[in-house]
Symmetry: C2
């Protein structure tokens, strides 16, 4: 028996969505789609199965270890994608001659990572991907971030619930140069930035020493770690021209013009993938800092070349379903109005069934979502079901209604009834 | 170089959807969802990865051979599902004590079969699944078929474009009994029914002989094969009571009441899976008979028990994306109005960018889908892009527009312009 019970569960780390859970899931993915389309992105898609070789070409070491790889019956090396970006790169590179740039594409993609399933971590999730390829101007970053923030707002969150931390890999290069930190210490500085806030300063100092940064040189590194706003960056640059700073400022200006300025903060510790991003990078977090990143992304210049295409600049963002669902739960925003607008039609005896069916057909033709009872029910059973399943309205047809020529539709929330001619 | 080109293709048998193709794909899946919801079905979902053991418990021999099976790093036997039904059975059985029956669920599921990719056959497709579990009345069949037909009509097809062929496994049992065909010849008769229309009668006679049906007994089998309408069935039953006949008639009556009678035909050759279906079975085909089945399904009584649940009756239907897309293409109905309603906003110099951005923000807040130009463009380039990408409307902002305080929005179809205050 327990063996049978066991086998009724989803495979380890995979999720089932029963209708109640699916309502929230659909609300998230519908909102992603609506926001992406409102910002003029076009949807694309590809199969969750990719060639292992393609995935390895882009992925970092850690990701490669977590890939669900398998061989098909012709001994091809395939895998369930851990992310959508290599597929995007492949699709764009394959038609690089004929696609008009800049292109603005989005996908809602299931992605797999073979991780330990401790702490409720799942092995699959869905991710909104927004990408703009072929646009050097920082308007690309602005549109991508604004579209993702729009989705958070449409889901019911407010600008005080989250922060978009933004930095720039190129600006960091200018800062390191202005700080006099020698090039051989840059990797150690990136590491220290990444650990900033997660480890106490003494531990970071130890890491720097291990990485060969002598104590006397660590002051400069900690000066960089301590930068908290763009005014301090300007001071540190001492009037040196920095195209990267101008771009970051323009990005923030654009987001402010969209009314999102309060949610945007400069944060020099945002690094993300060292190998992948080349310009502005950003990550959104819940304001209280309890959860992992809600979304993250940045500018990449080497993606297309990495799969054999011609070099082309791009800006991309990934936005998973899991963390935003956690945040919605924290804020009490997981409620769904899935049943709102749904109508159930019931009847007392088989004699009223044709009338119930006609009524359902009429309401459906008017665009309503109508559940037609599949068999006769007593009124008490019918209305109990309508309540339990949270229908918005319920219409019940008995012999008397047919005689009188009217059926009453009951609003299950207000309990008001309105008559409808049979 | 050709090696690189090769690697930019999707894995063999898997599909990429570029935005133009995705527009049709979304039209199909959006329509499925809308029709299922209009008929009161609730959406569920589950991961495309299932346990191999579960899939084997339900699948027939042919399907097991075509399963994409693999082992994860803990040596678990997993697979990409070839169909959604075992997953549905698992999910319902796992909560069989708490779910209210009858339940009406739908899913839009990607499914995989490892087939030869000859003749453009793909190895993955999407499938609408509609299931009603726990309802013995034939209204379950009626609702499922009507919802699927609704989707065909909403996609632009008409009732003359397709036929739903319907039969009943239980009625076939009654017919065989009334025909005096001995039980040991029933399997051979099913085989003959399945081959009817695909092979000439002489070949079918040979198959029957091979299966041990003597020539003198073959007349009765061919009489059954020759039944073409329910009146002939009634004659053959000679007034014997047949609950199965009454149910099939009630199903047709319900569909006729929905206005779908002309598309429904009795067809005794509809058999479908011998092991799986137990009652009414049906398949929809294009009227010209050029394509494979558009959708198919029927009543099953043993599904839940097959995964370890308590026995429960159900009615289900599978509706793939590939054949309906072929039929839409045949009928010239693959056009998409994806771009309709989309607006693009451009500007001449960087000075007009803030105004363009404000205009985009205003239009988006009104629910419009707005593509905001990412960089300044000359008017000719802007309108050429707007034409090529089939935007519905285009607004272009130059210095003069700002001075005059109005921007013109051009309808790209009618070429009419309407002024909008800046």
């Amino acid at each position: 028996m327990s063996g049978d019970k066991q086998s009724l569960a989803a495979p380890r780390g995979m999720r089932d969505f029963y209708p109640d859970e699916m309502a929230l899931q659909c609300r998230i993915t519908d909102t992603w789609r609506a926001s992406a389309e409102r910002y003029g992105f076009q949807r694309y898609d590809a199969c969750v199965v990719e060639s292992l070789d393609l995935l390895k070409r882009k992925a970092g070491e850690e990701i490669v270890e977590q890939i669900y790889a398998f061989k098909d019956k012709s001994d091809r090396d395939l895998a369930l994608r851990p992310e959508m970006t290599p597929t995007l790169a492949r699709m764009v590179a394959a038609r690089q001659g004929s696609l008009d740039l800049p292109l603005k594409w989005f996908a809602i993609a299931q992605c797999f990572r073979y991780e330990r399933t401790t702490r409720g971590r799942k092995r699959e999730h869905y991710q909104l991907n927004l990408d703009i390829i072929g646009e050097p101007a920082v308007t690309a970053e602005t549109e991508v971030i604004a579209a993702a923030v729009d989705a958070l707002l449409q889901l019911g969150l407010s600008l005080t619930d989250f922060r978009v931390r933004i930095s720039s890999r190129a600006l960091l290069g200018d800062i390191l140069a202005a700080s006099g930190i020698p090039i051989e210490h840059h990797a150690a500085t990136f590491l220290a930035l990444d650990k900033r806030g997660k480890l106490p300063d003494e531990k970071i100092a130890e890491l720097l020493t291990e990485a060969g940064v002598a104590s006397e040189a660590q002051g400069g590194v900690f000066d960089v770690l301590g930068l908290t706003d763009l005014d301090q960056v300007r001071d540190l640059l001492k009037g040196r021209a920095s195209a990267a700073l101008a771009e970051l400022e323009a990005c923030c200006t654009g987001l402010t013009a969209y009314g999102l300025g309060d949610a945007i903060v400069f944060d020099i510790s945002v690094i993300r993938g060292l190998a992948y991003y080349t310009g502005i990078v950003f990550e959104a977090f819940d304001t209280e800092g309890k959860l992992r990143a809600i979304f993250g992304g940045g500018r990449y210049d080497n993606l297309l070349a990495s799969v054999g295409g011609r070099p082309q600049t791009g800006v991309g963002l990934g936005f998973g379903d899991v963390v935003v669902a956690e945040l919605l739960a924290e804020r009490g925003l997981t409620g769904s109005d899935e049943a709102r607008g749904r109508i159930t039609v019931g009847f007392m005896t088989i004699d009223q069934q044709p009338i119930a069916r006609r009524m359902a057909a009429t309401l459906r033709s008017q665009g309503e979502q109508v559940d037609l009872a599949l068999h006769p029910e007593k009124p008490r059973a019918f209305f109990a079901r309508a309540d339990k399943r949270r229908f918005a309205k319920a219409a019940y047809i008995g012999p008397d209604d047919v005689t009188q020529g009217t059926v009453r539709i009951k609003n299950m929330v207000t309990r008001e009834e309105e008559p409808l001619p049979v």
